[in-house]
Amino acid sequence: MDAVLIIQSLISGIMMGMVYALLGVGFSLTWGVMHVIHISHAAFGLIGAYLSYSLLQYCGVDPVVSAAVSVPLLFITACGLYQLLIRPITRAQNIVMASMILTFGLAIILENIMALIWKADPRVLTPTYSSGALIAGPFYFQYPHLVGFGLSVLGITAIYLFLKKTYTGMAVRAAWQQPEAAQLYGVNLYRISMITFALAVSTAGAGGISLALLNSFEPHSHNLWLIYLFLVVIVGGVGNVIGTALAGLIIGVITGLSMAFLPFQWVNLVTFGLLMIFLIFRPHGLIKQEGM
């Protein structure tokens, strides 16, 4: 087994893992802060992907630039959806279950609205640089992967800084760790939940764009994406931003290494098997620490 193959496959594995992490980080937040398991999270990611596809196709806007359009758009939409759908179920005895059923329904609706608007044909996001690569010695860094990776690192860093440095971000963490005390110090839980939800949905949009740079997508692709982001979130520890990023890296490394060393037929099996074993031994994810 030679080094070039191993390193090359590690590189692309890690880049891919980070994209999953960006897609997962918002999922992790809504789950941690609001106890809402947001099944339609990946569907919103797919909307981001479709929006940037349309913008590229009809206006020639680069996907990264179009993130600047779709992210705020998703933010506003999510605020409305929160008020309309999520807030009413906060009175359920079991928010986790109620939110899962509700957002599962939402995912079906979104998928079919996308199918009506963009049709069922598969799409590929092809900006001008879509199949170029940066060549460094024997290694190739594919531009779309690089851009997706960059967008992911940027997105995750932004979320991290938001949570760490701003009052609103701190309120999000506070509301999650100790909702009662947070309220006593002036945190409006509904407002914070709305912001968390909207923020999560908009990062999903950015994550969707990144992932669309890597793979083709169809209206039902979100089902597949959901599985990966579930894994990233659980391995990283729910609500843990740094953990999610690390989990993305680890999943990338596992995939990369198994691609290099195993027959391809066994790659997915080994990835899921290892994750299962990992979860059995470290059920709380990489970092068992509440907060970040």
């Binding site: 760790q177 100790q178 005390a181 110090y185």
Partner: protein, 234 residues
């Protein structure tokens, strides 16, 4: 300044508070005592807006508070230090304290307030980067107090500040509370350490099974035979 009038609170069929009234005026330090489950924390939470009363009024500086949400009440200047401190365990000491200044009214003065808190509790300044969960009980209570001070309270409500602390730490906390009151802060103190509480407060209320059983100046309450037998163990 604050008057609680005839408050009744129900948990399902059970009445937690029944027609409870209480009065606090500017600069006072008032004690609220009672056995476990007598409804002290419930009263605190009603004032803070965490629990809605079935009937009764709460008047704060001439305005009714009923129906306001906790964050609005916080904005009005009523700050509670909850029982068990309820710090944010995954945040550092500094972040915990800064969270006290979350409300936009006080956010601007946060840097100065932070300096002041650190000068009041120098020990916290050394540990500002540590996670709140890793501190000792006494230090945690200081963080909780510091966090409350950041919010510039006009009425500070302390729920069992000495619970679970070593005697020395408890004494220290009471010292600080006394000091705060001297500086002019209005305080409502809930505690099971009846003797200690009644000795630093000016006025006291005694809750029994959700009913305000006794009230009067702390000095008198200390001499009250009923208080003596039930709470002071004399």
């Amino acid at each position: 300044m604050l008057s609680v009038e005839n408050i009744t609170v129900c948990y399902g069929q059970m009445k937690a508070l029944q027609g409870v009234s209480l009065e606090i005026s500017q600069g006072d330090m008032v004690a609220l005592i009672g056995a476990n489950g007598s409804g002290k924390s419930t009263l605190m939470n009603v004032i803070s807006g965490m629990i809605q009363a079935v009937s009764g009024e709460i008047i704060w500086e001439g305005r009714p508070l009923k129906g306001l949400s906790p964050d609005n009440i916080c904005q009005a200047g009523i700050i509670q230090v909850p029982e068990g401190r309820k710090l944010f365990p995954g945040m550092t000491v500094e972040e915990n304290i800064i969270m006290g200044a979350y409300h936009p009214n006080v956010r601007r003065q946060a840097p100065e307030s932070l300096q002041k808190v650190f000068s009041t509790f120098p020990r916290l300044a050394d540990r500002r980067r540590q996670f709140a969960g890793s501190l000792s009980g006494g230090e945690q209570q200081m963080v909780a107090l510091g966090r409350a001070l950041m919010a510039k309270p006009r009425l500070l409500m302390l729920d069992e500040p000495s619970l679970g602390l070593a005697p020395k730490a408890a004494a220290e906390i009471f010292m600080i509370i006394k000091e705060l009151n001297k500086e002019g802060m209005t305080i409502l103190l809930v505690s099971q350490e009846v003797l200690e509480t009644l000795s630093i407060t000016t006025y006291g209320y005694v809750l029994e099974n959700g009913i305000m059983a006794l009230k009067g100046p702390s000095r008198e309450l200390r001499e009250n035979p009923k208080v003596k037998t039930s709470y002071l163990g004399l």
